[in-house]
Amino acid sequence: METSAITGYLGIDVGSVSTNLVILDEHAAVMAAIYRRTQGQPIRAVQEGMKELLELLEDRNIEVRAVGATGSARHLTGVILGADVVKNEITAHAVAASQVIPDVNTVLEIGGQDSKLIVLRDGIVTDFAMNSVCAAGTGSFLDHQSARLGIPIEEFGSYALKSESPAHIAGRCSVFAESDMIHKQQVGVAIEDIVYGLCHALVRNYINNLGKAKDLVEPVVFQGGVAANAGMKRAFEDALDLEVVVPIHHNVMGAIGSAILAMELELMPGESSFKGFDMSDLIYETSTFGCNGCSNTCEIVRIKVEGKTLARWGGRCGKWEAEDEAAAVRMKQASTP
């Protein structure tokens, strides 16, 4: 390649439903973004995602200066990719939202299986909440309902916007919400009204679960996969009586946030632990075994690359991880307070 290398920052967010990768340039602008399904195979999703990313970048010669990982599979991703920073998704989302709207005060985030509410003041997170006992109202449920109604998920929002009077759907529990929707269909309520009614129910549930005693003020950013749904945006605006902003890259904000966190490390060229785009060709094996050290019988996960153990984790006592001190050192910066 003749062209001189462009400095880029790789951010990756591997969640329960989607795996997102972004490359940011030195000014934190998105050069390439990938949103794909995890399909229960995080390592494959990362490898495929990396290949796609390389294709998107075509012949631009990117020198990855630093890598950040987030999402529920952040530790796994961090190990196989050689991440320089591994952060929880709450912080990553807050960082990304602050980048898009520097004075953001409220972040609404709804992903595949979780939802978060982040309150910021003067660019600092002051409070947050994350759903704990219930996943009604997250992306997976909308996915399921769109399939059941025969409406592609991409069009779910435009259906909702056609509604004049949303149906009242019982949204406390997603199973009962479905029963209620079926009932509304059977009594002849228009499909648009049911779809928009569902959006209202989900928003109600979100605010009751996460928004209690929280001061929600503008600017409000709505992000995560579900933010693609215009019906949800409108339902939030109705419920909060505030303007809600959906950023362009709303579905990869976690990845953007982790790339920014990687950028903030200010690493010099060559300092990154990044294993290179070649990692997509390596063969990773994961296996689990029960530790018999005590009656906790913890399930230990072992990741091997080319027959060599890369990392182990999963125990309560930490004895398996301790043997991977070298890997742990590589993950310096990981979840720093």
Binding site: S295, N296, A328
Partner: protein, 378 residues
Amino acid sequence: MKISAPHMGHLHLMLADLFQRMGVEYVKPPPTTTKTLQIGAKVSPEFACLPLKINLGNFIEALEAGADSLVMAGGHGPCRFGYYGIVEDRILRDLGYEFDFYMLEPFNDGAWKFYKLFESLSPGLSIRSLWKILKVSFSKGRAFDRLYKRALQIRACEINRGDTSRALKKAEAVLTAAYSPNEIEEAAAESMAILEAVERDPDRQVLKVGIVGEFYLLLEPFSNFGLEEFLGHMGVYLERSVWVTDWIAPNRNNIIYGYPKKLVKQKAAPYLNHNVGGEGQETVGSVVLFAERGFDGVIQLLPFGCMPENIATSILPKVQQYHDIPVLTLAFDEQSGRAGVITRVEAFLDLLSARRMKRNAGVAAPLEPAAAAMSERM
């Protein structure tokens, strides 16, 4: 007679000492593990809180290890705990176990009743000798608590991860071996010296976090996924509002915690001025105290469905607002997953250190022990 009682943190160390002095054989239940919880949850009512489920698991494992008598603490007030002993007795009998059951009601509920219970365990025990035994045993308990309290502070600055926990084990063994009042006094000093010898980084910037909430969740590390040790390894200095001996002591001077119950209640009064059972009122008061002492944040732990703590939770947003202190509330039950807890705690620490950085404008955020947490974060 082979007597046993449920686990609650390092309570078993005190019980072993107490029963030895009384001449009663003590059967320490096998350590609480996931299996213990599974056994307990299986035989418990679904809506009972986590402590009952773990208690029952401990009891069943103790009975299977040969115990023939069980002791359980009683109590009264709006919290369900006071009734748990009775429920546990009934459930175990329905399962077909045979044993003698002893409910230990608080001393303040009647000194004679209190004495008679001990006398029934150890016939012929005089009030005078019981008093002496309790006094010595309790002083040993205090020494254990002091060790554990200090460990929460030292761990934040340890240079080699795990040194504090290892030193604590050694210190614990030294103290366990002490018997006479003189020996206990010497062992207390010696064990503390072992702990103090842990190599530390005195310049490390550490976050200060207070732990408040329901007593069992605070005292039993199994029930909160070893949260304190995890936080310590992340470089967080901890203080906690509930300690075993403070909780047992009838006077409630909270010698270990350092703030008498009366003061804690006073601090809570502007927000909650009456007892709501359990530690509800103390939780509110302790958050105020930690805020006044300049702590960076507070973590509240409670069993899912705990009424007194839920009352406190609903009041805490006001306390947070007036005292400008962040509070993270974590509820636990047998369905809880460690990953979810860790994600929230990590995000909370990020929040605290960002606040600290802003306040100190330019002073670096707390350092994290270099290779820390890789294992812990899983």
